[in-house]
Amino acid sequence: MASPKSLLEAENNWKTAMGLSFPGERVVIRGKDLFTDLKDMRWMELLLFGITGRYFSDEEIKLFEGIWVLCTSYPDPRVWNNRVASLAGTARSTATLALSGANALSEAELYGRKPDIRAYEFLVRCEKILKLEQLNLEEIVKQELNAHRAIPGYGRPIVNKDERINPLIDLLHKLNFENGIYLDLAFNIESALLTGRWRMKMNIAAPIAAIAADRGLSRNEFYNYMCLCFTGGMLPCFQDASDKMEGTFLPISCSKISYEGKNLRSW
């Protein structure tokens, strides 16, 4: 039978190598002193060090930061998570609460973290299958479409073309990261989809997942790295709605509720 033994051992007893603060003295993060060893780090460098415990080159940090710039949520309040930030602004809530709600939405089925990690998992699985020569790329794509009717990282709900791909390719060229096992695979999958009858273009989830895998991030590390990426577009939406007259962000009148339920009745 299960028992509370593990809880008894852990009561007031948490062992960690992640870090601790010594108030008034120092702060340790993953065995390094924040104010001596890590004080010159860029914020992205510190974020990735906290997630992975590893150091990355300057070029890699520029790449990871560049991905955050290109893949942030645009300041477009039509997008569902941003609209939460706008609604918080017009309802006169606070910026932190706006970000809490908007970020919570950002691991959705349609966008954000779920497609990200599914693209990562698909690329890694695809690469393994190809290595073992069990199936070719077209067969893998067919199999995936039969199973899920979608290829993670390919196609897009509103428009097929992803405007972030070309700027990302420019960034990769600039930083000399054009090639990688998974990045090459991501483009080969797109070619297979375009030469086949599927006409699905790559969306941004595939190349960024590929870049993360090529740079040695595990699936969970990639997920954690991307968690706050959308924040950049949310704050302008919140700010805009906060600056304008309260309650005026896209109000909905009673007639815009289309009732499709039971006829009027009495209790």
Binding site: M1, A2, S3, P4, S6, L7, N12, N13, W14, K15, T16, A17, G19, L20, R26, V28, R30, G31, K32, D33, D37, S93, T94, T96, L97, S100, G101, A104, E107, R113, K114, I117, R118, E121, A147, H148, R219, Y223, L250, P251, I252, S253, C254, S255, K256, I257, S258, Y259, E260, G261, K262, N263, L264, R265, S266, W267
Partner: protein
């Protein structure tokens, strides 16, 4: 200008606007009932909640079952992960919403949280009241068909991986709710609890009782998840407010409870 074609589709809610303001409702109907002109003063909160989620009025038995669930869930108590999260908002002087967001974030999880209830309800959907199916699913748990942001389940949903035996409040809850079991799932659970615990090697947890109760109410797993999140908030809010008054000095800080295993000051790099 609003796109004329864009509307909110709903089976739940209908409004008629005031004559002088299209943005103010004169009458609001929930599944056909006039909320402020008819329901108010006639129905209980639990009847209204049931109506909102199922679009039909509950039977008296369903209403009592939902009320029982709501009382059981209203306060998980100050040791519960989600309530602790809410109290941390209180002690630090965070907003009320921050405490509830914290409680929801933590209480959404797969150990004692809403996701565990959802998964346990999916087990109920697959197994019903057939012991053999339960034994199969416990010994060979289903794997998710796609990777997800949720981690893999580490124990049978609805059971306590740290429990020594089924706690008294869980037994009391099951005992009470099984007397209001419209579909018989709770009664079946009570009759088969020992056998199920033998196979899981873990005692039944409150999440398992609540999952069975939601199935008895004919709710879907996603509805059960949502109601579980919602119905546990009263206690989180009350404890957060109380700790705000006590202040951080009186709240556990675990000053000596953390051991840093790689402190550079005690483990200088070689």
């Amino acid at each position: 200008m609003t796109d004329k074609k864009e509307v909110i589709h709903t089976h739940i809610w209908h409004e008629e606007s005031e004559d002088d303001n299209p943005f103010a409702a004169k009458r609001c109907y929930c599944s056909g009932y006039d909320v402020y002109g008819d329901l108010l003063g006639k129905i209980s909160w639990f009847e209204y909640i049931f109506l909102l989620y199922t679009l039909e009025p509950p039977t008296p038995e369903q209403s009592r079952l939902l009320e029982g669930i709501a009382i059981i869930l209203a306060n998980p108590g100050p040791r519960d992960h989600s309530v602790r999260a809410a109290m941390l908002g209180g002690v630090g002087g965070s907003h009320g919403a921050a405490s509830l967001i914290a409680a929801l974030s933590v209480g959404a999880g797969q150990l004692g949280g809403a996701r565990e209830v959802l998964l346990a309800m999916e087990y109920w959907q697959q197994c019903g009241c057939v012991l053999e199916k339960w034994v199969n699913i416990i010994t060979t748990p289903p794997k998710p068909s796609r990777v997800d942001v949720w981690p893999e389940m580490e124990h049978t949903p609805g059971f306590d991986p740290h429990g020594a035996s089924c706690p008294t409040p869980v037994k009391q809850s099951l005992n009470h709710l099984s007397t209001l079991s419209p579909k018989g799932n709770l009664s079946w659970l009570e009759n088969n609890q020992t056998e199920l615990e033998k196979h899981t090697d873990m005692p039944l947890a409150l999440t398992g009782v609540i999952a069975a109760a939601f199935i008895d109410l004919d709710l879907l797993p996603a509805q059960g998840e949502m109601l579980y999140l919602l119905l546990r908030l009263p206690g989180a809010g009350a404890h957060a407010l109380e700790q705000r008054d006590f202040g951080w000095r009186k709240y556990p800080f675990f000053r000596d409870g953390i051991t840093l295993t790689d402190d550079p000051n005690t483990n200088p790099p070689s």
